[in-house]
């Protein structure tokens, strides 16, 4: 039995249609016309305990709706959801006691209180036994380097510091499942790395199941073995990121700096993506032209200063994937 089970999940909202302008707004007061919006349609997936899954998709794709349903805030229109044997929206209080949630855009700490006071209050809210609470809190404080921040009111923390405190706050009751909704949004580079490192440790060392939504593809690259892409409410793919990449954009990129002027290259299966006076960027399919052969062919004819191969950036892969599925921003 998987820890999280989602079957044929659908959520339809009713949205009021309004004619533009003041007359339209007034007419809307008297006679409203509703239009159904399918936020989710027939989404199914399951997650075993200890997995780390990234949920990605353009804005408005249905990621937040899915997370809200899984965390018990929202009731689906149809379909079946079970998390640890409970139906989240039927048994909210019992369910939320067993999960942790971090929203990148929203704080769950008390703005005017020192961090530590917020933690104490959360321990009471979640009914964590004092001894267990102290042990868990000390562990999280060490892992997230929160010691110097504990006495500061939350409003004085930087965003990076606050996110570390948010993570601790979401984990004080030792949940088996953690939902992260865009946890690195707006963070500077070192803070992003710290968050990723912490999530990875939590997942690997403590076996916490993690479901993460993000727009930052480096989060996906650094963390997730498994990726679900949704677009316009539909599940588009579910699998390891590498197979997504292979199915979408198998090409490699060859960057060459020439000793002299960059030549005009005409080779079958190779396209020139960019050129400057002394350099070229080529795109090719390694299954058709093996990389060593291509390099050998070029260096045989031209004097080369430097050469390196890379893959398309993950953003590019995803953008291409959205295009292929016509899943741009809704």
């Amino acid at each position: 039995m998987p820890q999280i089970l989602v079957e044929a999940l659908a959520k339809t909202y009713r949205v009021a249609e309004r004619a533009p302008g003041l007359t339209g707004a007034l007419r809307g007061l008297v006679h409203r016309r509703w239009r159904p919006v399918h936020a989710l349609a027939n989404v199914s997936f399951s997650l075993e305990a200890g997995e780390l899954l990234a949920f990605i998709g353009p804005n408005g794709a249905g990621k937040s709706t899915t997370v809200k349903i899984l965390s018990g805030i929202l009731r689906p229109t149809s379909g079946r959801v079970e998390v640890g044997g409970l139906v989240p929206y039927e048994d909210r209080v019992r369910h939320v006691a067993r999960i942790g949630v971090v929203f990148g855009q929203r704080s769950q700490l008390w703005w005017d209180l020192p961090v530590i006071d917020g933690f104490d209050l959360l321990a009471d809210i979640y009914r964590v036994e004092p001894q267990r609470y102290r042990r868990r809190r000390d562990e999280l404080v060490t892992m997230l380097r929160l010691e110097p921040l504990l006495d500061q009111p939350v409003r004085q923390l930087s965003l990076g510091q606050r996110m570390r405190a948010e993570f601790a706050a979401a984990l004080l009751h030792d949940p088996a499942i953690l939902f992260l909704d865009e946890p690195t949004i707006g963070l500077d580079a070192p803070s992003k790395l710290a968050v990723r490192d912490f999530v990875r440790r939590l997942n690997r060392e403590q076996g916490v199941t993690v479901l993460l939504t993000t727009h930052d593809m480096h989060d996906v690259e650094a963390l997730a073995e498994r990726v679900i892409v949704i677009g316009q409410g539909r599940l588009l793919t579910d699998g390891p990121f590498d197979s997504l990449r292979a199915s979408v954009l198998a090409e490699r990129r060859l960057h060459i700096d020439f000793a002299g002027a960059a030549p005009v290259l005409e080779m079958p299966g190779v396209t020139v993506r960019a050129r400057t006076e002394r350099s070229l960027e080529l795109a090719f399919d390694p299954t058709k032209i093996p990389t060593p052969k291509l390099i050998a062919a070029i260096t045989a004819k031209h004097a080369v200063d430097d050469i390196h191969v890379d893959e398309p950036a993950i953003e590019e892969v995803i953008a291409r994937f959205y295009d292929l599925h016509d899943a741009g921003e809704a």
Partner: protein
Amino acid sequence: MNALALYGRYVATSLRAQAQYPTATLMLTAGHCAATAIEILCVFALFHRFGSVGGWTFGEAAVFYALVNIMFSLADMLSRGFEVFGTDFVRTGAFDRVLLRPRAAALQLAGYEVRLSRLGRLLQAAVVLVFATSLVPIAWDASTIAIAVWAVAGGVALFMGILVLQATLAFWTVDSLEIMNVLTYGGVQAAQYPLNIYAAWFRQVLTFGLPLACVAYYPVLAILKRPDPLGAPDWLLPLAPIAGFAFLALSFVAWRAGMARYTSTGS
């Protein structure tokens, strides 16, 4: 930790947060005290001009005034989360965070913010009560004190019920509706005068619709040991405040319907 103890923790937390801004809190409290004190001056002006209104003296009216304001200030202090529910919770999405915690949403909202500045109105009303006692012969014995406490409890429940209804409407309208102030502030204004000065239809409203008379007028008659000029039996007077609790219970029925709607629409 049980719900009541947790509520106490919420209150303590809120007080500590306000202690971060001591000057602002003090000035708000003083301002609130002064602003509400104007109201008793208006009542005094009215009685000064006409001598007595509907067979009541100023001292007796001041007892109504004081008890109603004590009820309202306590309810207002304890239900801030419901009062600002639309603007601060539904519109901002902060209600999601409330739902993510393994406790009743109503408990979390009640403990959201206990505003010390409301002590201003409470203090002012308490002063008026002491003053009124010197004007009217009230025998503060165990039974009258018990009736007063019971009436205040019923009144706090009633005003909380209004604020819970106001919050419930926000599930549909998203914003907190200022129009509900007609019931809260308007209710305080209406209930601080004795019921028999009003027209019959309005008396019906204040007894059976929004039962303010049940938590103010009737128990105060019992405290003053006066028979009801409108003819309600004496034994009924001290029981009337139970209507406040009934009103609160009904408000929570509506609240549950609102919660169910929220979880199915998410907005």
